[in-house]
């Protein structure tokens, strides 16, 4: 009798599972939900859940509902692999992740190996925020797709803007000492050197990631160097503390950043009083001027109570639907083929394309500055009363860099 109940207990879920798995498309969201990166990870999760609800309300994808499965990786590559395996065992065929290029590299590798060992059970990896260029160059994988612009694409766009600003004469680079910060620094040196050889790089600083409590010594160095502009890829508290120290010391320079809009960033910028002197480079932003995107932002803020920090997540989920409809299937192999060279009208306006060569999504890039808002700009950030203002839109063809990816195709 006990054996029989045991047998039923084991077999019953097996019988039940395939039916339910067919009704829903499960997307494993692997990002930090505890520890130092939790604030970022939570924001991403709420965004994806909002997007899934939105798609489900419109009938889902090919009649199937979408379910986001949150998996906490504590920003740790090893933990991410454990969570990814757990997700795959639970029937997940799509994984999305963004925070930390080291995590992204580990996941990309994991998914590639998994797919070569388990034909017929392939998994796709959608990267929405890890921007290390190597992920679409020497470490590229057929199963990895990236919706954010890689850091060299962003730097290409940024330097294209900076080269036309004659007031920039002395540039100081300060970055976090890990793969992303180092690629910002080398790209900036290379691209500025090629486009504006007259610009002097007066400082090139690397500091440990998330370990500095007081940036005043760094600010003293920037001041002593006589720089008029600073380029930084800093994010999180490293950005907020850097700007606070600058505000305290009264350093008046222009800041060219990747992540000034991250949590705590806008508040720190407001404190500096640097009105429209802090620039950010993104694939979209709240006051972009595009009506559809601004309506979307309004609805998003009303429901989630956050700024839409990831317009690329919107692009990702919408393209997921478009690719499924093109392939008329939700099978990952067919989906991957359908995504290649898929053209797509992005949220903030303009055409993007998922490049077949390296699975990097190419899209328009915006440079915006943070400061007092005009009447046509309704959205502020972190209740500071200040918000983002369009400075320059760089269209897809001007925001491209070549790739060295040699992809193994199935």
């Amino acid at each position: 009798m006990r054996k029989l109940t045991l047998a039923i207990a084991v077999i019953a879920p097996m019988l039940g599972q395939p039916a339910s798995a067919e009704d829903t498309i499960k997307i494993g969201y692997i990002d930090p939900l505890s520890g130092g990166g939790a604030s970022v990870g939570e924001g991403g999760l709420k965004t994806f859940q909002y997007l899934a609800d939105e798609l489900n309300a419109k009938g889902g994808i090919l009649g199937k509902k979408i379910e986001i499965i949150p998996l906490d990786n504590k920003t740790n590559p090893q933990e991410s692999l454990v969570q990814a395996q757990k997700a795959i065992d639970a029937g997940v065929r799509y994984i999305t992740q963004g925070n930390g290029s080291s995590v992204a590299a580990a996941l990309s590798d994991f998914v590639t190996k998994n797919n070569s060992r388990n034909p017929g059970k392939e998994v796709l990896y959608f990267n929405y925020a890890a921007v290390d260029p190597s992920l679409t160059n020497e470490k590229c994988s057929y199963w990895h797709f990236r919706w954010d612009a890689s850091s060299d694409i962003k730097m290409e766009a940024l330097t294209n803007y900076m080269k036309d600003a004659p007031s920039i004469k002395k540039v100081y680079l300060i970055n976090q000492d890990y793969s992303f910060g180092q690629s910002v620094r080398t790209d900036a040196r290379k691209m500025l050197g090629a486009k504006r050889p007259d610009i002097q790089i007066v400082g090139d600083e690397l500091h440990p990631l998330l370990k500095v409590t007081d940036f005043s010594p760094y600010i003293a160095k920037i001041k002593a160097s006589g720089a008029d502009s600073v380029v930084t890829g800093n994010w999180g508290q490293d950005f907020a503390l850097l700007l606070k120290a600058a505000a305290d010391a009264g350093l008046k320079v222009n800041w060219y950043t990747y992540y000034a809009g991250g949590a705590g960033g806008p508040t720190a910028v407001k404190q500096t009083g640097l009105d429209h002197q802090v620039f950010q480079i993104t694939e979209g932003f709240a006051n972009s001027g595009n009506k559809a995107a601004m309506d979307y932002e309004k609805a998003f803020r009303a429901k989630v109570n956050l700024s839409l920090w990831y317009p690329r997540a919107v692009n990702e989920m919408r393209m997921f639907k478009a690719a499924a409809e093109k392939a008329n299937s939700i099978d990952p192999v067919k989906m991957a083929a359908a995504l290649e060279d898929l053209k797509f009208e992005v949220l903030d306006g303009g055409q993007g394309i998922m490049r077949k060569d390296d699975h990097q999504f190419l899209q328009p890039i915006y440079i915006s500055s943070f400061g007092k808002l005009t009447e046509s700009e309704p959205f502020d950030e972190e209740s500071t009363g200040w918000g983002w203002h369009l400075v320059s839109k760089i269209d897809t063809p001007q925001a491209m860099v070549s790739t060295t990816c040699k992809m193994a195709r199935p």
Binding site: G35, G36, A38, H207, D214, P217, A220, K223, A249
Partner: protein, 315 residues
């Protein structure tokens, strides 16, 4: 060059005094009770969040008084209902209790205030540059932090070394029964000492909150450096902690200012060797490793002088 030296010295002293502000309470608790409080940085975080919340309701100055009192009360409760019971099981149990408490406080704080940084600002009264050196401003708020640190240092020294209260507190540590027989309530003495130590952490939180980022992982970020300060200065020595804070502040600040590396001192390695781990190590500048330097100091002092700069105990 002179400019960088003067400014680095100033920055170093300011940062050092902030460190002292943070570590004074930890030192008091350790020297008086022999308890190494792992949750100290969490009390500091509580101080920052209470300060933020009270500032919203009643302004900064009442918060500056109320928040440390609140944190002190929590500290006393922890001692009375937690530490006192675990005390008989020895130091490891006490340590584990405070260790667990640190995680619990972090979770509670992130449940109430969320995981993103809160907008905690410098009071408008102190939001102006106090003076300018070589065109670099020094905010009045930093000078205020410096003044508070010095006042706390002097006040603590006087209370502990020159008053009857200090005498009883010190005696209670080594001869609790004797002090008890003399009619003092030893349990209450310990409770008050722990409360005062926690309140000092809370005060540091209220003051440092606007200067640093107030968010739910700030305790974890600052905890390790506090232990460096008190071990380097000598476990339980208040002047030791004071000197250690200054030394660490200055060393770290000057390290940032130095761009030297092994490569710049001895010339680059043979380029034909190509990029390797060796060339990476060779080219690392002192500035790049500056925030790690205090931990290096910790290791060195533990090898050379295990009791710390001014400590008296071997452990």
């Amino acid at each position: 060059m002179l400019e960088l030296i003067v400014i680095s010295t100033l920055n170093g002293v300011l940062f050092g005094m902030l460190l002292f502000l943070l570590s004074s309470g930890l030192t008091v608790i350790f020297s008086m009770m022999g308890v190494l409080n792992f949750a100290h940085a969490s009390f500091y975080m509580l101080g920052a969040f209470f300060g933020f919340q009270l500032t919203k309701w009643s302004g900064f100055w009442p918060a500056l008084v109320l928040a440390p009192l609140l944190v002190g009360a929590i500290g006393m409760a922890v001692e009375r209902y937690g530490l006192r019971n675990t005390h008989k099981h020895g130091h490891v149990a006490e340590l584990l209790l405070t260790f667990g408490l640190a995680f619990a406080i972090e979770e509670i704080v992130s449940m109430i205030w969320g995981k993103s940084p809160v907008d905690y600002r410098v009071p408008t009264l102190l939001d102006f540059p106090a003076f300018t050196v070589f065109s670099t401003n020094y905010p009045a708020y930093k000078i205020f932090m410096l003044a508070v640190s010095v006042v706390i240092f002097v006040a603590l020294l006087i209370v502990l070394k020159r008053t009857r209260v200090g005498l009883i507190v010190q005696a209670a540590l080594t001869h609790p029964h004797m002090v008890g027989h003399l009619g003092h309530n030893v349990g209450r003495v310990f409770m008050v000492v722990f409360g005062v130590g926690s309140a000092l952490a809370g005060l540091a939180g209220v003051i440092a909150g606007p200067a640093l980022v107030t968010q739910s992982d700030m305790a974890a970020a600052l905890g390790p450096i506090l232990f460096v300060v008190i071990v380097f200065g000598g476990l339980g020595s208040l002047p030791g902690a004071f000197i250690a804070s200054l030394v660490i502040g200055l060393v770290q600040t000057f390290a940032v200012a130095l761009n030297g590396s092994l490569a710049s001192a001895f010339g680059p390695l043979d380029p034909s060797a190509g990029p390797s781990v060796l060339t990476d190590v060779w080219n690392v500048t002192i500035a790049q490793v500056a925030p790690i330097v205090p931990y290096l100091l910790l290791v060195i002092i533990l090898i050379v002088r295990p009791m710390g700069l001014m400590g008296t105990r071997e452990s």
